[in-house]
Symmetry: C2
Subunit: 208 residues, 2 copies
């Protein structure tokens, strides 16, 4: 039986892939802008409880795979773990659901939505700026979910603004991560495959 | 007359936008991983000849808009301008063509493809690692251009590999930027709107 989104075109380099698993994934890079970046990145990654995601790191980024809620639970822990007052740091991330190049490997055993990192993050509420872009794929009518993501930011009070090629939002760190997770959850029901790219930034010295 | 890709749905926050201009754009952030990041970013941006693009900077990123070739000419100049032996630096970028939220403002007068920065970059050929993800939007059959981007990397000798949610490539810096520009040029003919996201990295201390 071919899998739900299996690719069979032999000209595709990922031919034969596909997955029936309800699996989200995120490829991300953390950029602490100072001389101590290695220790900050490695320290932050090491503090994350990965018991409910699959994780892999290469020279460009780290990948977490699992249930959408668990991926965002881990991502927010990475960013909060890297935070130091005065440090400028950015997280650049790309979350994906339903990719036809996906496969059934590299996934965790956990199938529940009980977060394991959030209870350890305390009352983290430092202000962050973020931009996001949602790409619903494989459908002609891809604009409504993008508009819905904007309205969702209004609803939760993150002050969205349309800028070239993205939507800007701002607010307390965990509220912003919760919002980003909710955008991906909303988009999941709107197309078989979507990607949400976003940047979360703290401590930028740029005055606006 | 409505513009070519004009949005008229009043529920969209960008309603009324749209553009007939043959305009590419790129939103990008440069991350030099050291204490001197501000001077490196500002110095690199200041060295770029912007006479053939429109440019704008906010707290999260810089945007260049113009002809596709000119946008990539400037982008490669930003990255080469930030290069110092031993420095780990990354460029995170999102290029877009045909966005229905686009408008006719914020564009340069230049309409030719003669590069103004490339002649100043000398023989820059330091090795970089990059990842890219192409998102052709608004079409059901969006996988063929993605496969074509992979084959194009094989053809130009950048050693592509499929990884979770992206394609990895590696090679001399200007060859990688030329390749990324050619991916966007190829995708332009395949759907009305596409986005190409990519990361170019130099000097990562991570061993693979």
């Amino acid at each position: 039986m071919p899998k739900n989104n299996q690719t069979t075109d032999p000209s595709f380099p990922w031919t034969g892939c596909g997955s029936d698993a309800d699996l989200a994934g995120c490829r991300f890079s953390l950029y602490p802008l100072n001389d101590d970046y290695k220790a900050i990145i490695l320290g932050s990654l090491a503090k994350v409880d990965l018991s409910k995601v699959w994780a892999g790191t290469d020279a460009l980024s780290t990948v977490y795979r699992g249930r959408l809620s668990q991926v965002f639970d881990c991502l927010s822990a990475v960013f909060v773990g890297a935070y130091r007052p005065g440090l400028h740091a950015c997280l650049e991330a790309q979350t994906s659901l339903g990719c036809p190049g996906d496969d059934d490997a590299d996934r965790p055993a956990a199938t529940d939505d009980v977060p394991v990192n959030r209870p350890t993050l305390g009352q983290a509420a430092f202000p962050v700026k973020a931009k996001l872009a949602l790409y619903p794929l494989g459908i002609a009518d891809y604009l409504p979910p993008i508009a819905e993501a904007f309205r969702l930011a209004e609803k939760v009070g993150l002050n969205p603004r349309i800028v070239h090629y993205a939507t800007r939002v701002e607010g307390p760190v965990l509220e912003v991560f919760d919002y980003l997770g909710s955008v991906s959850a909303m988009a999941k029901g709107r197309s078989g495959h979507h990607v949400l790219t976003f940047t979360v930034s703290v401590g930028s010295p740029t005055q606006e």
